[in-house]
Structure formats: structure tokens, C-alpha cells
Amino acid sequence: MTDLAIEATGLTKSFGKTKALAGVDLAARTGTVLGVLGPNGAGKTTAVRILATLLRADSGTALVHGFDVRTQPDKVRQSIGLTGQFASVDDDLTGTQNLVMIGQLLDLPKKAARARAAELLDWFDLTEAANQQAKNYSGGMRRRLDLAASLVGRPSVVFLDEPTTGLDPAKREDMWDVVRSLVSDGSTVLLTTQYLEEADALADEITVIDHGKVIAHDTPYGLKRVVGGQRLTAHPLDPARYDDLVTVLSGIAVDGRAPEADGRGSVTVQVDSDEVLPDVVARLRAAAIGVDELSLHLPSLDEVFFTLTGTRSGDSRAPEEVLS
């Protein structure tokens, strides 16, 4: 077996006239997290469904844990866990019943299935709700149960399709901890997300997809270097000093990148790191420019796309991604 747990080459998939994937390559080394980053409708979910054997690609090959998704789907299914964008748990069953059912379908003896269910419910803080029907769970609890269900068989490759979309920040952090502990146990994780921050926090490598195509593949560090490490945004107290502000900020921007105006009187520049902050403050004071906003942040997904493709990701959206 190679040291790649996921290896996909040239995947294409169309739904009628909609081209969901137009030749996608993905690779994840064993024991790492591959972040697949892209806006809604980019083809992330389609790619995951192909890798998880739920869909057949029109062309291209994919190996998961060394097995071909087309010719050895059952070997692949033996090795994977899948957590979809929408919690795929059975609403009418309790938390325990859901997990025991999955365990038994994975050929665990009943006793072992029960023990594994209890262990996972405990890990995901669902022990108290174990005997309630999943329809009575909150959104966050359903996500956790869903993730637990995908881990019953201790899969070596875990697909997480937008696992934190719609979760509040605290729950998001909990989910991140789960991903980290999966990887520390030796699993390989493919995580799709719309949040650059999430990919940055978890992924060893990031593949950026848009309109069914890979537009970048790099480490988070490499990707950030391409798009500029951070953004610094300032808004002048006195609108008349706008041009002076632009001049000052141009002086600290990453070599040669032009400041961007947002049309509402703020200006944004790319900077190398937060170390420029004292320098900016000193220069603004020296030039006697007052500001009522001065902030440092990671580039948004929109800015990543703008840098990589030269177009705003909202410009020409692909048709709504087909989910089923």
C-alpha cells in the first residue's frame, strides 16, 4: 500500500447538463487531514460522495485505503466512515439504537456493539440523551451522534462533509478537537469546509475547489503565502484623509500589492504578519491620521478566491450542488 490513504485522479461527474466535477485530483497522506475548501456548489460534496462509494464518477479513478472505489466498493466501505452535511441518523431511533444498529451491520456481536455505542456516546457527551429519540436532539447533538455513527467501525479513513456548518463557535471547537484526536489515533481525515479558518486550524494540506476544478493545492502555510498571510483594514476618522491613509498603508503592505478599497471608506492591505501592527500605529501617529477602525484578520474565503482566480467567488456561481 502506498502512503496515500486517498488518491483520486481526474474525477468528473455531471448531473444532466450541470458539470459538478470537471477533473478533480485529490491526495491525502495516511494519518493526515486533507482540507477541501470551496464555496457552496463547488463540487465538494460530489467529490466526497464519489470517494465514499455513494456515487459513481463519470470518469477518473479513486483509491481509498488502497482500494478502488469502482471495483472494490465493499473493501472501501469497510475502511471508511462518512459524516454528511446533513446528519444521517435515524430520527425515530434513540442514540443508543442508532449506534448499536450500525455496529451490528458492521458485524460486531450485539454485546460488542452495545459497548462500542456506550463508549462513543460517552465520548460525544450524549450519555444522558442515549435513550431519547434522535428527533428530540438539538442540531449540535445530532451532528455529534452522526459523527459517532461514522466512527463505530473505527474507520481508517473518515470523510467529514462540512461538519461544522451551522454550529456555534464553541461547538465548532469541540468538533475540531474530535478531528485532532482521530488523526492522533492514526486515521486519515478528509474534511470539506467553507471556512478558511477551519482548514487552517486542522488541515495538513488544503485543496481549493471551485466550479468543479482544483484551483490550488498547498499546505496552509503555502496557501496563505500565496494569498498573503493576513489582512489589515483601516478606516480614517476624517474621510478627507483617505488618500493619506492609503499612502501609509501602502508602505507596510506585502511587496507591491496594491491596497484595496471596499467602497465604504475603508482600505485593506495584505501584510506578512501581526508584527506590522506597532509599525502601522507609529506611522499613523507620525502622519497624524486618526482611525476609527484598525483590524487584522485572515483573508476570507472570498479573498482567497479573488487572489487565486482573479474573480470574486460570488460572480458566476455554479448551479446549486446536487446532493442526492
Partner: protein
């Protein structure tokens, strides 16, 4: 390389479907109240007119037929339920597990066994209250009920196929009723076919429900049963051979 079908997996999913049924008891109305109401209606509205004034002798004629009719009607629900069930995420989970593709469908049909068993018990018990008595022996009664359930489990695949093919649960019901009504009325369930026009008799004579009803009548009331039992079993096999692969293919394509 295909995963072999595992009966154990099918039983696990049958249990899932039973749990869901028990959680929504109103799902049992069509197999409990419906046979009671139909038996009452037909026995007392038509019995007098159709059987020369003797409701009792009509009940004797009707009850075995009622069993076939109710079973055909109650097969509508499985298609409807599967149609809504499959739209939910849990089927994505099943598809991502190393189990045979047919397991979720077989599990659902196995769980439906409970409903058909209830039809048998309710029909026989209520018939007994109204005065129905078998003229044969308990073994033949069991054989009759077994044959009815066997037919139901085969016929259910028609409903599953429709459930996998059409868009909404409402459409499943519409199509299945269109299918079930001519089958149940165009048979020997309610009247002897002798008074029907020739073309209709031709239909009645090939209708699988007619064979089932003749077989059940013979097994409960006496008389020759070899040919109708044989035809019923042949129909069961035919329905399975045609509609099981169709339903499975429709399910896989729906992914």
C-alpha cells in the same frame, strides 16, 4: 466484487423498521380497523342481497376473500414509507456501510411480516365473533394463513418498486390503489365470477388474487386446493423474480 447478502443484516434492519412502526401506532390502522370495517360493511350490506338472504353463508364465502383484499391493500403502506424513508440521510449511511445493497429493502419487507400477521389474526378473530367457523382443521387454517402471508411478502415488492420509482409518497398511494382495486374487485372475492361477462371472467381467472382466494377458501372450508395453491405459489415466485430486481435497481439508481 459484491458483498454477499447477510440474513443477519436484514434482520437488524427489519428490527429498525419494526421499532419505527411501533413508534407510530397509527400505521397499524389499515391492518387492524380496516379488515373489521370491511367485513362488517360487506357482510351486512351485500350479504343479504348476494347470498339469497343469508348473511352467514355470505360471511363464509367472503372472509377468505377479505383476507386477500386486505393484504393487497395493506401492501400500499410499505411503498409509501420507503419512499419517505429513503429521502432521509440514514440511507446515505446504509449505502456507505459494507452491507449488500438489497439489505435495507429486504429488512423493510421482513418487518412488514408483522403487519400481515396482524391482518390474519384480526380477520380470523373478528370473523369468529361474527360466526365464521372453519370446516377443515387447524393445520389447514395455518397453511391458508401462511399462503396469504407468503403472497403478501411477494406482492409487497410491487409496492417497494413503485415506492423507489415515483417522486412522492402520495403518488405511491395513487398508483398502488389504481393497481390494487381492479385486482381485488376483479376477482372471485365478493361474488362468483359466473355472472360476469366473458372478458372479465378471463381476467378473473388469471388474477393472482383469485388464485389466492380460491386456495384460502379451499383450505378453510374444504374442497380441492391443489391447483389454486400451485398457481398462487407460481404467482409469488413470478412477482419476486420480476419485482425484486426491479425494486433493487430502482433503489441503486436513486443514489
Amino acid at each position: 466484487m459484491k458483498k454477499r447478502f447477510s440474513p443477519r443484516h436484514a434482520l437488524v434492519l427489519a428490527k429498525r423498521n419494526m421499532t419505527k412502526m411501533v413508534r407510530t401506532p397509527e400505521q397499524f390502522l389499515d391492518v387492524t380497523l380496516q379488515p373489521v370495517i370491511f367485513l362488517l360493511l360487506f357482510t351486512y350490506i351485500f350479504g343479504g342481497a348476494l347470498a339469497g338472504g343469508s348473511q352467514h353463508s355470505y360471511l363464509e364465502f367472503l372472509l377468505p376473500g377479505m383476507l386477500g383484499q386486505t393484504i393487497a391493500m395493506s401492501s400500499v403502506a410499505i411503498g409509501q414509507n420507503m419512499n419517505t424513508d429513503i429521502a432521509k440521510g440514514v440511507f446515505d449511511r446504509f449505502r456507505s456501510l459494507p452491507i449488500a445493497r438489497s439489505v435495507p429493502l429486504v429488512g423493510a419487507v421482513l418487518a412488514d411480516f408483522t403487519r400481515y400477521a396482524i391482518v390474519c389474526v384480526v380477520t380470523m378473530a373478528f370473523g369468529y365473533l361474527l360466526g365464521f367457523r372453519i370446516a377443515t382443521d387447524p393445520l389447514k387454517l395455518l397453511a391458508a394463513l401462511g399462503l396469504a402471508v407468503c403472497f403478501a411478502l411477494s406482492f409487497a415488492w410491487v409496492s417497494v418498486f413503485v415506492g423507489m420509482t415515483v417522486r412522492s409518497a402520495g403518488a405511491v398511494q395513487g398508483i398502488m390503489i389504481l393497481f390494487v382495486l381492479p385486482l381485488s374487485f376483479g376477482s372471485n372475492t365478493f361474488v362468483r365470477p359466473a355472472t360476469m361477462p366473458g372478458w372479465l371472467q378471463a381476467f378473473v381467472n388469471v388474477n393472482p388474487l383469485s388464485h389466492l382466494v380460491s386456495a384460502v377458501r379451499g383450505l378453510m372450508l374444504g374442497g380441492p386446493v391443489g391447483s389454486p395453491v400451485g398457481w398462487t405459489l407460481a404467482w409469488c415466485a413470478g412477482l419476486l423474480v420480476v419485482f425484486f430486481p426491479l425494486a433493487l435497481r430502482a433503489y441503486i439508481r436513486r443514489a
